[in-house]
């Protein structure tokens, strides 16, 4: 096995450990486990960054140098990377570890799918002509930061709905550690705004690329169409919040629906015929 894939498959376990400790913290209510989880997640992020850079170098050594963003394996790894990076930024900004148990598992799942699914080829492959473009990097980065922000919003939505299950005066640390409804709502909104901007940038960079590769900036390719559907869902969500003042449970449910659409844009579209067949 090549060194970068070894590192990256170890990162899978690191994120698993981190997720477990975040959950442990929620159950026991002891911050000690939380700081442990944060340190592990941060270590994982560093290791993963090193792994990605090594992979980049290795591709150059093979004479087919390109950024590690070119197939399903690399995109899954990058997805996990963006989730953890964005999560740690949020953790640092809001000075609270409460979201970890609901977000880091997504990063673990993405890594696990990349590392252990027999359908995902981890080899470094050269770029086919359609992918040989300067727009590859900016398109993939913007899209996946968008996906990661929506993932965090989905985790927050879960938390909100879970909070609804517990009683307000519930004394178990689990429910106590889930932030208040208003905080959750505010965080969900901010995550969705960030995701929405990145998704828009992803669609724009994608159409610029399509304009130089496929002959049209918009071809109603299934992935394009689904990204537009996702955009519509979040646009509807923002409007209902701005104009109708929707908050709380409705937004939590919408953030789950939006995330389902994100997942379909990412994975489901592969089962439909289209131009994005290499992802």
């Amino acid at each position: 096995m090549i060194i970068n894939t070894t590192i990256l498959s170890w990162v899978t376990f690191i994120y698993f450990g981190s997720a477990i400790f975040y959950i442990f913290r929620m159950v026991t209510g002891r911050e000690f486990w939380g700081s442990f989880a944060s340190i592990i997640a941060f270590t994982g992020l560093i290791a993963q960054t090193v792994g990605l850079i090594l992979r980049w170098f290795e591709s150059y050594k093979m004479g087919i140098g390109h950024a590690p963003l070119s197939n399903l394996y690399e995109s899954l790894i990058f997805f996990a990377w963006t989730i953890v990076l964005l999560y740690l930024i949020v953790e640092w900004r809001i000075k609270s570890r409460n979201l970890g148990a609901f977000v880091i598992p997504f990063a673990f799942l993405s890594m696990a799918y990349a590392s252990f699914s027999p359908n995902v080829n981890s080899r470094i492959q050269p770029l086919i002509p359609a992918l040989q473009s300067n727009w590859l990097i900016s398109h993939v980065i913007t899209c996946f930061f968008g996906y990661a922000a929506f993932t965090i919003a989905c985790g927050l939505g879960f938390m909100y709905l879970l909070k609804g299950l517990g009683k307000d005066e519930d004394s178990s640390p689990f429910f106590r550690l889930i932030p208040g409804r208003e905080v959750l709502d505010e965080l969900t909104y901010h995550s969705i705004v960030i995701g929405f901007i990145f998704l828009t940038l992803g669609i724009i960079t994608g159409s610029v690329w399509a304009y130089s590769a496929w002959g049209s900036y918009w071809s109603w390719d299934p992935k394009e169409t689904w990204s537009l559907i996702t955009w519509f869902i979040y646009a509807a969500m923002l409007h209902s919040r701005f104009v109708r003042g929707w908050r709380g449970k409705k937004m939590a449910i919408m953030s789950l629906i939006g995330f389902a659409s994100v997942l379909f844009t990412y994975f489901g579209v592969n089962y439909l015929p289209g131009l994005h067949s290499y992802f």
Partner: protein, 456 residues
């Protein structure tokens, strides 16, 4: 009636409904293969269903009348609701609240009050300077024993949403310009050949270009592992037999000639005009000879002239074959030389008796077999002219600007009151914001920190 229609058109309910309907329709479009006329779908669907789908234009859904109507409604909704709300935003933008009220300072949290050294009259000037530096439209008024300032920033944040909506309309306008004035077409050109007519995509039919495109060469390069590395067409563009542009066309690197963009879209092979013929004379060694279609060569011993008349890739399902014409003093004869003659012979016993023209040894003592047909590539080019692209690009640029205004700026209004408290100055800060309460809190803290550095 007119009013209800207008309020329906400008309602958020319509927006949400349209977004959902368009989303669902788009999902349908990703499931039903979108091809001109239906194409492959015939095989999987019953004829009745195909007819129904066709009449609903489901095979070219994104360009169907009803989809365009939906998009039109969405645009109308965007326009009407923006127009509806704009006056309110304009008022908010223009309005300067009265300073004659103590209302902003009611229920002020102790965090927003600061007491500093110095009498108010010593402090006021600095407060005013600081506010003028940081805020717009700063006004001052003395009320009773206190001085009240008003200032604001981020008034433009009311317009972010209009920038976004206008950008979307600009993008839609660009798309309309493109579909009305532009075109999409494709053409396959074999190596060495040229054309000036192309197949239109959606509009169907042909289009004549005012110049000619020639494919000089098509080539593919592969990586070591067999994956394709590069598709390259060397193209020449000619007008009145003069080359106006010449260059390689690669995927991701379109060529623009006379406002028409050319893209490397596909490729394929067709039988070329050249074959390799295996010739065996009696017990001599076989020789392989390259011959072009319609070209001839001489078989000296028999004083015969051999000509290739036809090249068939698959003659009567028996594989590749060439029609050979031999002219000699003994007369003229024509027969086919197959590539897989041995197999054909085994499959059909007595073939040469039934069909003497299939006998490769008809012209004795020679025996001809087709070694191979040399294929040549054709390149598949996509052409497009889209005068709406720059409009769409402008819309895309401004939508991002609009996002930043809408999501990251807010209209903050501040009231600062300075009055005397036990020989010192008391500064109270009250503020409101149209969004972003967290940012507002930070703004107040920031301002108070600045005030606390001032000493009388």
């Amino acid at each position: 009636m007119k009013k209800t229609l207008l309020s329906f058109l400008s309602s958020l309910r319509l927006t949400i409904a349209l977004l959902i309907i368009i989303a669902v329709a788009s999902i349908l479009g990703t499931v039903i293969p979108q091809q001109y006329g239906g194409g492959e779908a015939f095989r999987h669907l019953s004829p009745g269903l195909v007819k129904a789908f066709r009449s609903l234009q489901l095979f070219d859904m994104y360009h169907s009348v009803w989809f365009i109507i939906l998009m039109g409604l969405l645009s109308l909704n965007l326009i009407t609701c923006s127009l509806n709300r704009f006056p309110t935003s304009w008022k908010l933008f223009r309005k300067i609240p009265s300073l004659n009220r103590g209302k902003p300072f009611e229920n002020l949290s102790p965090d927003s009050v600061l007491v500093i050294e110095g009498k108010p009259h010593e402090v006021i000037g600095r407060v005013e300077n600081l506010l003028k530096k940081r805020y717009k439209r700063v006004r001052k008024k003395d009320i009773a024993n206190s001085t009240v300032f008003y200032g604001e920033k981020g008034t433009y944040s009311h317009f972010g949403v209009y920038v976004i909506h206008l950008s979307i309309l600009i993008i839609i306008a660009g798309a309309i310009i493109g579909s009305l004035l532009g075109f999409n077409a494709f053409v396959n050109i074999a190596e060495g050949e040229s054309t000036n007519t192309v197949h239109l995509g959606r509009q169907k039919g042909m289009k004549k270009l005012d110049f000619t495109v020639r494919c000089d060469k098509f080539s593919i390069a592969f990586y070591k592992n067999g994956m394709p590395k590069e598709y390259r067409s060397n193209l020449s563009f000619l007008k009145d037999n003069n080359v106006i542009f010449q260059g390689p066309l690669l995927v991701n690197h379109p060529i623009t000639v006379n406002d028409i963009r050319f893209y490397q879209a596909s490729y394929g092979t067709i039988p070329g005009h050249q074959v390799y013929l295996t010739i065996k004379k009696g017990n001599d060694e076989e020789i392989i000879r390259k011959v072009r279609l319609k070209d001839s060569f001489y078989l000296k011993e028999k004083n015969a002239k051999l000509t290739i008349l036809r090249i068939e890739e698959n003659l009567m399902s028996m594989g590749p074959a060439v029609l050979i014409n031999i002219q000699s003093p003994e007369g003229t004869m024509r027969f086919w030389a197959f590539k897989h003659i041995e197999k054909i012979k085994d499959r059909i016993p007595g073939l040469f008796k039934k069909v003497p023209k299939f006998n490769p040894g008809l012209f004795k003592p020679y025996y001809f077999t087709l070694n191979r047909i040399e294929n040549k590539y054709y390149t598949g080019l996509q052409l497009s002219r889209d005068p709406g692209v720059s409009t769409v690009a402008i819309g895309s640029f401004f939508i991002i600007i609009g996002f930043f205004i809408t999501f990251f700026s807010s209209h903050k209004r501040l009231w600062v009151r300075v009055d005397e408290q036990e020989g010192k100055s008391r500064i109270s800060v009250a503020a409101t914001s149209n969004k972003d309460p967290v940012g507002l809190k930070r703004e107040i803290e920031h301002l108070l920190r600045h005030f606390s550095y001032m000493r009388g």
